[in-house]
């Protein structure tokens, strides 16, 4: 055993010594044979010949000896690798083109896989995340709706499916103390919220049921980051006070680092460690009023309980509630959605489509590499023939060639990995703001393994066919041919043409995809948004309840602020509204419409907003009928409301909505219960991609004061110049207020189309890569055949063919490759149309304009790629080519 090991180790580490000993040993044997035959009376020449015949295949014998030494695998691989490196260095252009194209495509795959790994594959950062679900309501009109607090309490008390359920709602706070007041991302949470997530405070405790009682709300749990940055990680902070919204909150807990937000629908904040403070949600008011829905549910299923079972139970509870509270609770069903689907659901399709696209790029790169390798294998025919003639087994030749392609793909992979590091950074930077889990996207171990895996697979995929084909070389024929310059068999030419066709086809698919994404993007940015996004500065302001207890105070501040803003130089108009377009706002309210009855089990609903008199003008939302709000719409005058066109069409179709009345009461009695429509404004959709605007109405801020408002300032020149004026105007009215989210409306509008832009940018990039690869492929094949047909061209020129004829001949040959390729591409793209349906906007996946444009583009590029070899063919000098023949 030990001998065996020693022997192998020597064979391995003193490899060249062992090899030369073997050579010497075999040479000795051969010489003795020769001597033997001479002694028998043969001439030396004859003796040598006889000995060589008796000797058998020399290389084969050496091979068998190596095998017998038991180290052949490693030895051979090292040998092959050394040989392969020499080959690559000897052919730098070929090697660089191969490695770069592979690096680009492998790098693109690794970068995208990093995204997929972080977003789709990595477990959510909670213990047993499979048991976490989100709980929503759903009705005929609102497919996915938040919960009503009282319903939530009943769900919590009556269910048996959940280990715990909790609810949460966004509520940012203003932290004051030292320095400028800052706005913090905050959430109101019920007790048990962290227990549901499976997280525990690192110091202190979670909220208990006591803290849900109104009056007990002045408690706070803070994030690790806030604790460290603001409080120097002071462990004595528990029991200390924080001034938030001008009120003293007692710190009862500090969450550990890595406490990630599970995501929320309404006023959503990013995933990751994006929340600074959690305050206790309190259940205040009348438990029989169940019309308002604004808290989001999350639950942890008991072990072994499926989300289907939980759903069935929750719906049974909902049915009970509908019987108990027919006014508020009828018409609702419960939705129980696994947290994972909720988090990644919307991006999954996009990511899978992108993965498909980048996979196609890799396939094209493989086809391209196989193509180049095959061209080279025919140039190497002589070398391979010699090796075969020397008795090297075919398998050995295949192995050698495969080692070369694996070396290429692994070098490509290593370089690709570097590209991926850079690419992932660029990707994360480009990602839409609402992209889930973007903080989890890194080049990590799984990505490294993936890269290694695809590099190996790529190397084998593109190397195998050329290697097998080369090993089939007939040594005799190969050697004979090689002396006359190289030619490849018909079979090989056909295979190479098929590869180019496939490349062209796949590249066409990607180009069509890129075209669709581009159209989608264009459609979205050229869409009439219903407001004017340019020259508009926006910001948010929230008035702390402690200071602004009465509605009049709130209304008064916004009235004075908008007045002073309007007076600023360069400001055309200024206003405040409960929200800005395209920011995901979708608060709804139930309604009574005078003279109309809803269908049983359903109600009238519309989005509700607040606005000051200048809001619509500042936003650039046009007035269609009636009037805007004025300063006269205040307490004491009749309740006024402005509605949008969609609402007018829905509830008062064709009758002129101005003067009509609606109410929030189920049974309005008095005149003051009614709101009168004073104006109709143009529609603004929730998101650029939304199919249509939702019915919506606005209340005058003076009649329904809201403390958290968005400010809109329309300027005549660059809106950035109004920032200082805005800050100053706020400071003059109240130095304690934090002006937050100062943004241009252009930026907001821009981020609303960031997802389609991202998709378009990536698919476009992949398509560009694909068509470049396909062009290289076409160039390779055409220039190779031009070289092969040089004698024929020479002959034709000698017989009187014009240069133009040759040019046309070659270009026609290229068209023969690319036209079928584009046809395949178009057919493929049409059959894949279903896959992208959800990603396109107002363009059919089989759009004929895009298809035609892509076909023409591909043909043009392919012709361009073959133009260079075609020129070379046309420049054929008949004398030289015929002479070399």
């Amino acid at each position: 055993m030990l001998d065996d090991l020693k022997f192998r180790v020597r064979a391995l580490f003193h490899h060249s010594e062992v090899e030369s000993e073997l050579d010497e040993e075999l040479r000795f044997h051969f010489d003795r044979e020769v001597q033997k035959y001479i002694a028998r009376g043969m001439s030396e020449q004859e003796a040598r010949r006889t000995a060589r015949m008796a000797f058998g295949a020399h290389e084969q014998a050496k091979e068998d000896c190596r095998e017998a030494r038991g180290t052949s695998f490693i030895e051979l691989t090292l040998d092959d690798a050394k040989y392969a490196i020499r080959q690559l260095i000897g052919n730098p252009t070929f090697s660089i083109v191969m490695i770069l194209t592979l690096a680009l495509s492998i790098g693109a795959n690794s970068a995208l896989f990093s995204v997929i790994n972080g977003v789709l594959l990595k477990r959510l950062p909670y213990p047993e995340p499979d048991r976490l679900v989100r709980i929503f309501l759903s009705s005929h009109e609102f497919p996915k709706f938040p919960l009503n607090p009282w319903d939530f309490l009943d769900f919590r008390a009556r269910n048996h499916s959940f280990e715990a359920i909790a609810a949460f709602t966004r509520g940012d706070v203003q932290l004051s103390g030292e320095g400028e007041p800052v706005k913090l991302n905050g959430f109101g949470i019920t007790s048990g919220y962290f227990r549901v997530l499976g997280l525990r405070p690192q110091i202190g405790r979670e909220f208990d049921f006591q803290s849900e009682i109104p009056g007990n709300g002045l408690q706070v749990i803070i994030s690790d980051r806030l604790w460290r940055t603001r409080f120097g990680a002071d462990p004595g902070i528990i029991g200390g006070k924080l001034t938030m919204n001008m009120q003293p909150f007692t710190v009862i807990g500090v969450m550990p680092a890595g406490t990630e937000h599970p995501g929320n629908e309404y006023h959503s904040v990013a995933y990751g460690e994006s929340v600074d403070v959690w305050w206790p949600f309190s259940f205040a008011g009348n438990s029989s009023q169940r019309g308002s829905h604004y808290i989001e549910g999350i639950g942890r299923l008991k072990p072994g309980v499926t989300s289907e079972r939980a759903l069935a139970e929750m719906n049974a509870i909902m049915a009970e509630l509908a019987r108990e509270h027919p006014n508020g609770d009828s018409g609702w069903r419960v939705l129980v959605i696994p947290l994972y689907s909720e988090v990644v659901g919307a991006t999954r399709q996009m990511l899978l489509v992108l993965l498909g696209a980048v996979g196609i790029v890799l396939l094209i790169a493989c086809a391209n590499a196989a193509n180049l390798l095959m061209a080279r294998a025919s140039a190497r025919q002589r070398e391979i023939s010699v090796r075969l003639a020397m008795g090297a087994p075919r398998l050995r030749v295949v192995r050698q060639l495969l080692t070369e392609s694996l070396l290429l793909s692994c070098l490509g992979g290593a370089l690709g990995l570097l590209l991926a590091f850079a690419g992932v950074r660029a990707l994360v930077f480009l990602l839409p703001a609402d992209f889930p889990r973007s903080n989890d996207i890194h080049v990590s171990w799984p990505v490294l393994l993936f890269t290694l895996g695809i590099s190996m697979a790529t190397g084998i995929l593109f190397g195998l066919a050329p290697a097998l084909q080369a090993s089939r070389t007939d040594p005799k024929e190969g050697l004979q041919k090689a002396s006359r310059g190289t030619t490849a068999g018909k079979h090989q030419n056909r295979l190479r043409s098929a590869l180019v066709m496939a490349e062209v086809g796949l590249a066409s698919v990607l180009l069509i995809g890129a075209g669709l994404m581009f159209r989608t993007f264009l459609n979205l940015i050229h869409l009439d948004p219903g407001f004017k996004q340019d020259h508009l500065l926006t910001a948010t302001l929230s008035l702390p309840h402690a200071q602004y207890k009465k509605g009049e105070q709130v209304a008064d501040l916004y009235e004075r602020l908008t007045t002073s803003l309007s007076a600023l130089p360069g400001v055309e108009s200024a206003g405040a509204g409960s929200d800005l377009p395209w920011t995901g706002y979708d608060e709804n309210s139930g309604l009574t419409i005078e003279g109309r009855k809803p269908d049983p089990g359903e109600g009238f609903h519309a989005r509700y907003h607040m606005a000051t008199p200048g809001y619509f003008k500042a936003m650039g939302i046009p007035l269609l009928q009636g009037r805007f709000f004025t300063a006269a719409d205040r307490d004491g005058s009749f309740p006024a409301v402005i509605i949008n066109h969609a609402m007018a069409e829905k509830y008062w179709p064709g009758q002129g909505a101005v003067g009509k009345r609606m109410s929030f009461d189920d049974n309005p009695q008095k005149d003051s219960d009614w709101l009168r429509v004073v104006g109709v404004v143009g529609d603004v959709k929730d998101q650029p991609k939304s199919p249509a605007a939702e019915p919506a109405f606005w209340w005058p801020e003076n009649q329904a004061p809201q403390a958290d408002m968005s400010i809109a300032v329309r300027t005549s020149s660059d809106p950035r110049q109004a920032v200082d004026g805005l800050r100053q105007a706020v400071r003059q009215l109240d130095p304690e207020l934090a002006v937050a989210d100062i943004k241009l409306m252009d930026q907001i509008a821009d981020s609303a189309v960031s997802t389609p832009r991202f998709t378009f940018a990536l698919v476009g990039l992949f398509a560009a890569l694909a068509i470049i690869l396909a062009a290289i492929g076409a160039y390779g094949v055409i220039s190779y055949t031009v070289g092969q047909r040089a004698p024929e061209f020479g002959l034709r020129v000698a017989l009187g063919a014009k240069r133009g004829d040759l040019l046309r001949m070659v270009l026609a040959q290229s068209a023969k490759l690319t036209i079928p390729g584009t046809i395949i591409g178009v057919i493929l793209a049409m059959s894949l149309g279903r896959v992208v349906r959800g990603l396109v906007y107002q363009v059919s996946p089989t759009d004929p304009v895009i298809m035609t444009a892509v076909v023409l583009l591909v043909l043009f590029i392919a012709l361009l790629a073959s133009y260079i070899p075609a020129r070379r063919a046309a420049a054929t000098d008949p004398m030289t080519t015929l002479r070399t023949e």
């Binding site: 001998d3 065996d4 010497e24 000795f28 058998g56 014998a61 017998a68």
Partner: protein, 109 residues
Amino acid sequence: MTGRIELPQGTVDLLILRTLMTGPQHGWAISERVQQVSSEVLSIRQGSLYPALHRLERRGWIKAKWGSSDNNRRAKYYELTRSGHKQLETEAEAWRKLSIAVEQVLEGA
């Protein structure tokens, strides 16, 4: 050439070991000797001889040493190790049993 028999691998090993029992030899001499002793019936082709030698060496049954041959050239000499002797006994015994058994079957049938 017609009277020669191609040898299976195990038999080659046995013949090599037996040939080396009389003392160290280089590869060529081994093949010559086998041919001689077997009255030109058995011949070990070089293609199987050297791999077999390397294999036997790896197993530790033979040892290789460089020495000078009768015409003063460096040659690789193989010699039987102790475990090689044992292996030869076992294999020879097994071979005898096999050949007797085969003979009996051939006679009986």
